[in-house]
Amino acid sequence: MKRLITTAVLALMALAVTHAIASAQDATEVMKKSHMAYYYAANDAVYEVTMHLFDKKGGERTREFTMLRLDKEDGGDQKYYTYFRQPSDVARLSFMVHKNATGNDQRWIYVPSVDLVKPISADDKNSSFVGSDFTYEDVSGRRWTEDNHKLLPESQLDGKAVFVVESTPLKPYKGFAKRISYIDQTTHIPLKSEYFDDKGEVVRVEKAVKIEDIGGFPTVTSRSMESLKKGSRTVVDFTGTKYNVGLKDDFFTERYLKTPPREYVK
């Protein structure tokens, strides 16, 4: 009898372990697919972006820019180019990121009023993107390999079936201690992400406000991020998004940093 119980317990434990491993694999697979759907749609993209920054008193600031993206390979290195139009004190300023999927990114800024090209030390991916509630990492994505993932019970969000994934950073990270993502089971677009601090409190909540099909790619055309402690909120609207337009690698060099490719940046 005793042996039977021991065997049963061992079998159950083995089952639990296998299940946990399978779940971790599933969770990682979900996060990888989500990362691909969200940050690597098509091979390149042109976005017209309007960012609305709301402070806790309801005051609003706006940032308008064109963003170009080129993928070297799916899930791998990427290049980003941003050309600002508004507000007028940063108009014509351009900004470039060579995202290294497994190492440090490289960033450059061009300040036209002094004709200055300057690399920016990009150690901290967790700093704010142009003063908004989004970080640099939110803009270009946090690679799925940097966190441990665990599937929580599936759920429904806005009438859609979602995977619920809990992620904890492999290495201590000041961006978050835990993140819970709600991922659309059909499109793998993250519909909502909650970022927790080390006290277990939700500090930031990201939502996909509007999703449209563009050229066969489900695309988030409005996205929001709320910083609960600061009381601020940022809404980003993407208009005129185009995929696979044939951006050249050259566009992501100093030459085009100084004079944007006008075919795409009017």
Binding site: T62, S88, A91, V114, D123, D124, G131, T253, R262
Partner: protein, 417 residues
């Protein structure tokens, strides 16, 4: 002034005449008010700045061409009530084929790796603006130039021709005092600070070249310059006594910049060939020198960036210089002159508040210059700033020491449109 008005009108006409294409117009309105802190400053006014400025920017872009104009209208109450118009930029940028860009007209030019210190960047600076709290963009004075750049697989080659020499803009005693070597002391108004430009001849133009190439994670570059010292570093004897001049100069240099240790590192060097006095025999002309700089910048915490630079300038034929200075009774600098700088920038409150300090300190000249700044973006349109420029030095003839009476604080209000 007349020429500038004419050019300004021309830009407006060209842009307006472009008709069909859309012209973007923006700019800002700004008030800058600053006062000196030292009562013994021999300048004519207590104000280091009291100016209202309207900047108008016009831009028209096409697929291959771009026309850009930047016009400044200023009313300066600190400087005997003067109204002024300056054409800061007016250029046409065009792409010729796949590998060639051209930029023609009045433009601001920058290259090299230093943060507010320059070796191979022998383009015009405006230190008068820099010292009274004008925006960073005013440190660079425009040049009328033709810039051609070729982008090939080995690297890119830029050539800049400035037909008429454009000198640095320096304090002239009206709102900021300076050391006048002919008088032997710090002076304010009442001394003629104008220096004759080299005659407007083809051979007196400036030529600057840069070849740059990405090597691994580093951007490397070679530079050459043919023209004149941008400051009136020399003098020549005339019947009426010594007269300041811009001596002829060639510069050859190289630089490297890239990501190291989670930050950015830069290294730059240049040789200043004093063409009219290569052997250092004439005490009225600068000796040749070799300068090297090393810098490192890193974000040490979220929104807190710190950098540091070290520059060393070695004078050639130092013994001759020393003998020469002794005969003139002037200030004798060290053979190797060191300069240390640091910048600390803290962004607060969703990047709406900027606190920044930049300090230049030379242990060789025993002088320093500190720039303190606090800015607040109240809305997307309205911004406030206060700042201070502090100089100190043991010797009134040294680089920053000569400005020791110019300590000033300022307030600035900007409306962007």
């Amino acid at each position: 002034m007349k020429a500038q008005m004419f050019l300004a009108a021309l830009v407006v006409i060209i842009l307006a005449g472009a008709g069909r294409a859309e012209v973007n117009i923006d700019g800002f309105l700004q008030g800058l008010y600053g006062g000196r802190l030292d009562n013994t400053n021999p300048t004519a006014t207590e104000f280091t700045a009291s100016e209202s400025r309207l900047q108008l920017r016009l831009e028209q872009v096409g697929e291959k061409n771009e026309v850009f104009g930047r016009l400044d209208f200023t009313y300066d109450a600190a400087d005997s009530a003067r109204f002024d118009v300056e054409l800061r930029e007016a250029y046409l940028k065009t792409r010729l084929g796949d590998n060639f860009d051209l930029k023609i007209g009045r433009q601001v030019l920058t290259w090299g790796t230093g943060d507010l210190i320059f070796i191979n960047d022998v383009f015009a600076k405006d230190y008068q603006s820099f010292f009274v709290g004008r925006d960073d963009q005013y440190l660079k004075a425009p040049q009328n130039a033709l810039r051609a750049e070729y982008y090939g697989s080995v690297g890119s080659l830029a050539l800049i021709w400035t037909p008429r020499f454009e000198p640095n803009r320096l304090p002239d005693g009206r709102t900021l005092s300076y050391f006048n070597p002919f008088v032997g002391q710090i002076v304010g108004q009442g001394y003629d600070a104008s220096v004759p430009l080299p005659p407007a001849q083809f051979k007196n133009g400036e030529i600057a070249a840069r070849f740059s190439r990405q090597v691994g994670g580093f951007n490397t570059a070679l530079y050459a310059y043919h023209g004149f010292y941008k400051n009136p570093m020399g003098a020549m004897m005339t019947a009426g006594g010594p007269m300041p001049i811009f001596p002829r100069l060639n510069v050859y240099g190289a630089s490297l910049r890239g990501q190291v240790l989670g930050g950015i590192v830069w290294l730059e060097g240049g040789y200043f060939d004093s063409r009219q006095d290569q052997c250092g025999a004439n005490p009225l002309l600068p000796n040749a020198s070799a300068t090297a700089m090393l810098g490192f910048e890193r974000q040490v915490a979220t929104n807190l960036t710190v950098n540091g630079q070290w520059q060393a300038e070695a004078m050639m034929e130092y013994d001759r210089y020393k003998t020469g200075q002794a005969s003139l009774g002037g200030y004798v600098r060290d053979e190797i002159s060191h300069l240390l700088t640091t910048r600390i920038t803290q962004l607060l409150h969703s990047e709406l508040v900027t606190l920044s300090a930049f300090v230049f300190y030379s242990p060789s000249d025993e002088d320093l210059y500190a720039r303190l700044y606090a800015g607040y973006k109240y809305t997307d349109e309205v911004a406030f700033a206060v700042g201070a420029n502090i100089f100190d030095g043991q010797n009134q003839a040294a680089n920053f020491g000569q400005f020791q009476k110019n300590d000033n604080v300022y307030i600035k209000v900007t409306f962007n449109y």
